[in-house]
Amino acid sequence: MNHYALTIIGRDHPGIVSRVTEILYRRGCNIADSSCSILGGQFAMLLIISQPEEESGEDLLHYFAPLEEENLSVFLRTLRPGGEIRPHLQGELCMVSVYGSDKPGIVYRVARELGEREINITDLNTKLIGSVQRPVYVMMLEATLPAGMSVEDLEQAMAAVAGELQVDISVRAINPVEL
């Protein structure tokens, strides 16, 4: 079975999901994993899809052409075998909240710190809030720590970044519980 990564983005309006999923349904595609959201005025769809019929990516993309005419941008990438399988992340899970006066480099500076420590970001959202005069930047991310690293270790590293960027950063452990 072929797996593809499908990305669709365009000015938000009612009916985008319906149009996209109708095409997928008619082509016999399954939506395995997906996340869709409104970002600014744009609606963005990220999907991992599979197709039992083994159509080539190019052939499949052809069926999305009508969407391009509606000003939606469509990207399709054929995944290598196994590319659809989620890795088993073992380390501690934590949530990092970063917020403060908007300035260039907040995301990069925090992400660099995480990347250098082999911390895996699994979810990331940012928003610009506040007023035009006093914009506030908010970033929320979830990350898996490498084996042996504790939430306290990350807290310490983030405290240094918070001081340097003059923003507030809090780190807290997420403990998923199976009941």
Binding site: D33, R86, H88, L93, D123, E142, I174, N175, P176, V177, E178, L179
Partner: protein, 166 residues
Amino acid sequence: MAVRDILLYPDPRLKMVCDPVPECQELEPLIQDLLDTMYEAGHSVGVAAPQIGVPLRVVVVDVSASKLGRKNNHGCLVMVNPEILEREGSMTMREGCMSVPDYTGNVARAEEVLVQFNDRDGTGKVIRAVGFEAVAIQHEIDHLDGYLFLDRVSSLKTDLFRRKQR
């Protein structure tokens, strides 16, 4: 007695409203099975009777061995015909469920609950549970009404629990 298999959604028995236990009904084998099943799972802190296919209002909860519940708990709780009398406060936890494997989601529940139930010996009790124990009790009692955490979730996250090898 016996470790029983946990029913997995979409088993329709997980979506049924369970019957109250009539007075004088022999429950000892069921209670022991629930406890055995909970402790055998290793990481589990609660099991409800419908999860092993018995449509009766019985749950067991024990958070005393878990990191989150160690400080505040009532030990091993056997609850027959439990009823939440009062709810207070709110807390959100990333919940998962043995009947819905490999999914977790953020669920907001009361931080504190006052629960009335009959214990293993049939004695009427009222306890005030807080924190993780309160969350576990609410999760298990939801099973008795056919609710899964998926009915309460505000956002879904995939998460694989490490399971005890059999």
